[in-house]
Amino acid sequence: MSQAALTFRDLTLGYGSHPAVHHLNGTVRKGSLTAVVGANGSGKSTLMKGIVGALRPMAGAVVKMAGIRIAYLPQQSELDRSFPARVVDLVSLGLWPRRGLLGRHTAEDRASVSKALMAVGLEGFESRGLDTLSGGQLQRALFARVLVQDADLILLDEPFNAIDAKTVGDLIALIKRWHGEDRTVMVVAHDLELVRQNFPETLLLARQPVAWGATSATLSAENMLRARRFHEAWEDNAPWCEPDGHGHDHVAHDHSHHDHDHPSKQKVAS
């Protein structure tokens, strides 16, 4: 059995008292390539934030492999494009895990930045201001930063939004390259056809995990139907989630218990 990059132990993440990811169990195998799919509001981005530590679990835990280096590309970047920086400055931020606050950027570091820019097809863009880039170019620059970060676990939250087909193809090629290098990659995506073609494993979320495992099995018609039934809206007076003796959390939080839309917690060990 191969090593787990991530283990979710009855993980509940959310906002206020409302869970957005509810009682997630399972492991993300080291070197696996997983798509995270689900409707809007199903908890995909929340899960990413929970893994990276930007959101504290309401209950349960995310256990990370010791010493794992994470690169995270959020969906709603807080990147300030009006900031007077060049493409090379943005990509060089990826050197932080290696050089930290005060370490000098060596010739080798600069070479790795150039190589990353070349890999995403942005050679010649080094000195361009961020405010002059198109959406796709900026996304490629951010991928270059992930390349420079040289991380073990790469989390990409909807990286293909508003990106043209050719660029999506280029970015998928990069993701496959990371997969080939035995890095663990999790990608939030909406295009199911793209997921079927390129991602061996899929986690289907509808606040609860609906299914998780081989992509073709996870994205079965039956699972998709179950996922579609989930209610996106919070219910202010939903009953408190009580510990049910199955190792669930002991912190009470609101969630709706409608039998007809309560997807079973099918967990496929991956």
Partner: protein
Amino acid sequence: MSSLYSFFIAPFADFAFMQRALAGSLMLSLGACPVGVFLMLRRMSLSGDAMAHAILPGAAAGFLLYGLEILPMTVGGLIAGVIVALGAGAVSRFSIQREDASMAAFYLISLAIGVLMVSIRGSSVDLMHVLFGTVLALNNEALLLIGGIAVVTLVALFLFWRALVAECLDPLFLRSVSRLGSPVHFIFLGLVVLNLVGGFQALGTLLSVGLMILPAAAARFWSQRVGPMCVLAVAIGFISCVAGLLLSYHAALPSGPAIILSAGAAYIASILVGPRGVLRSRLVHHRHRTA
């Protein structure tokens, strides 16, 4: 030639108070202008103004208790500024409220306390000292303080440069790779307070923020990179100080407003003629390339 000398050099060569004023204001520019650049790039220019108001009650308390003594006024201003900066910063980091609102709330409370104190204990003449400062009356202690603040500021900027840039450019990224995000924000707010406190001896609490923001805002029209922008802001600050002091000397004007108005002139000139200013980008007819 001799008239040039008597206009530009003689005032500084002949009068010790002008030399002190020059030394004080140049050292002030060294720290305050780069801090101003980051303040502007973080869209916190008006927060600088709010912070300046927040310092007032602390400085006024020191002044009312000990008279025009530099130490109590500085310490008072520092305490008031740090409380407001930490309070506003903490509320914005740990609650849903953004910093513009929390900063406004805290500085208004601070300002009200200040006005209350002055109305109980002081006179409006006293207040004028605190509000408008006296660059022409900087003593050794004040110069030492301003010099110390400049050194602390430059060292802190050097050490935390990479984190400051990352925190401005992509705060979420910094948070994903380092725990420095929040500390560096508070260190930065500390530098803002420190430089405003350093400035109020020379320029008064109300105008000290001027030397921070105006040269930085002017430099934005000339450069597209943070480092050069900081250097340029310091240069514009230097020129403004020299020009302001000369203007004040020759036209018998109050020195603080003269320095800030000189910086204001540099700002307006930059809007007009800077490479990224209005005239170049709007009025000059641009040819375009094929690709």
